[in-house]
């Protein structure tokens, strides 16, 4: 999805080496982040080294998108809380991811919470969708940093509990 704040979210969080220009040329930019150790279950701890593929918005049928998703351990799917239509397109995106990476885990992020605090309807909509699809979600702000690292921790925990990487 375009303009939901994925790139800003990643930039808040990672080790960057490449220009964002790659996003508009080949549609993806890879960066890396080593998370501090987190608790992944009762008495269990793990450390995660994320190789993050920030994927630009694609046409639904683009073969490139699937190529980039193949082999992924998880996806943090980001919606823009100021644009309800981005929440409506979440199911299609998640389906696409699950087809390309059947073992991959999914967590949701509702971004731009710093601006969306005054529109509880969209927040409620995301909450409902997350509950129906049994997916963990967090409200994030790339601008203030709120819940950015936490949302990646949530995804890491999902991956650990599924027995993945």
């Amino acid at each position: 999805m375009f303009g939901v704040g994925k790139t800003s979210l990643v930039r808040r969080f990672v080790y960057d080496r490449f220009e964002d220009g790659y996003l508009s040329t080949i549609g993806v930019k890879v960066s890396q982040k080593l998370l501090p150790p987190i608790q992944t279950g009762e008495g269990k701890f793990g450390q995660f080294n994320f190789l993050l593929w920030d994927i630009e918005g694609f046409e639904e049928n683009s073969p490139q998108l699937s190529n980039y998703l193949v082999g992924a351990a998880g996806a943090l799917v980001v919606a823009d809380l100021l644009r309800p239509e981005t929440i409506a397109s979440l199911p299609a995106i998640i389906n696409r991811f699950r087809k390309a990476a059947p073992a991959g885990q999914v967590a949701l992020a509702g971004n731009k919470i710093d601006l969306a605090k005054t529109s509880p309807e969209t927040v409620g909509e995301l909450e409902r969708f997350a509950a129906e699809s049994h997916l963990p979600f967090l409200l994030t702000s790339a601008k203030t940093g709120e819940n950015v690292e936490k949302s990646f921790q949530v995804l890491a925990r999902q991956i650990a509990q599924s027995g993945g990487r």
Binding site: Y15, I26, V28, K29, V30, S31, Q64, G71, R165
Partner: protein
């Protein structure tokens, strides 16, 4: 006493004498004062000063440059860089138009220089026609099944294998990395490069395949290249400079096959845990040594 007589007595005779003797001088002084004032005005008013200097300025610079070239260069050089930059910024098209005719010549000259060096290197090799070195190269060429000239050419543009990346095919995760000479590249750098390389490879393969299944085998940039050997679960990327020796692709493939042979199960089940791949660098180091020998 009459009035006329009194007046006559009032006029100081000395003053009278002065007036008779100095009238001419006084008028000259006045005239000079006027001229000085006029000059002062010319110098202090910008417009008038410019009007005065303009007719001679060109000639003045011309003469100054002729007589003291070094001095002028020293005075102007600090502002030249800034002036050129500004000119490029303000009148880019004019600058391009002006440079275009000479750029081709510059490039041609630079290529000619590089070729000259290459020819000189080859000649130096050929001049040792009967030297032990050339005989060694001829035997080497025969053993590799290539022309002796090819071996000499490879020697003139030395080959350097700089980095090897072993990367998980689907996820783009970096399984092993070595460099020659060992570099300061951080682990993060190598990992991100491995990921980006996978993304670029995937992009090229899907965007230009046109329905056909194929793999990206080489990326070239200036004098460096990345040769990619695709495997079942991984791909091996070699970054090098110069002309690769004959048989380099086979060496790369053999190294990759050895890795697959020794680690095939762990490669297939790889989930990102590099501690399970201990020893995978060994064949990579072996390849590096093998290439250095050639």
């Amino acid at each position: 006493m009459s009035d006329a007589k009194r007046n006559h007595q009032d006029v100081d005779p000395l003053e009278q004498l002065k007036s008779i003797l100095l009238t001419e001088d006084q008028s000259r002084v006045k005239e000079l004062e006027q001229k000085i004032e006029e000059l002062q005005t010319r110098l202090s008013r910008k417009e008038q000063l410019i009007a005065t200097l303009e007719p001679v300025l060109g000639e003045l610079l011309d003469r100054k440059i002729k007589h003291s070239k070094d001095e002028m260069a020293a005075a102007l050089s600090p502002v030249m860089g800034a002036a050129i930059k500004r000119q490029i910024r303000d009148a880019k098209d004019d600058v391009v138009d002006a440079l275009y005719p000479i750029l081709g010549q510059m490039v041609a000259r630079s290529v000619a220089e590089a070729m000259k060096k290459l020819v000189a290197n080859i000649n130096a090799s050929l001049n040792r026609t009967f030297s032990f070195d050339l005989w060694k190269k001829r035997i080497q060429a025969r053993a590799l099944g290539v022309d002796a000239g090819e071996v000499i050419l490879a020697g003139a543009a030395p080959f350097e294998l700089q980095r090897l990346f072993l990367i998980a095919k689907e996820s783009g995760l970096l399984m092993a990395y070595i460099s020659n000479p060992p570099d300061q590249q951080s682990d993060s750098d190598a990992q991100v490069i491995g990921g980006m390389l996978t993304a670029i490879k995937s992009f090229v393969e899907s965007a230009f395949a046109g329905g056909a299944k194929g793999t990206l085998e080489e990326i070239q940039h200036s004098d460096r290249a990345i040769r990619i050997d695709p495997g079942l679960h991984t791909y091996l990327a070699a970054v090098y400079a110069g002309i690769p020796p004959a048989g380099f692709d086979e060496m790369l493939k053999a190294c990759h096959q050895e890795i697959h042979k020794r680690f095939h199960r762990r490669l297939r089940e790889y989930q990102g845990d590099n501690s399970r791949l201990r020893g995978v660098e060994k064949p990579l180091h072996k390849l590096l040594k093998q290439v250095l020998k050639v």
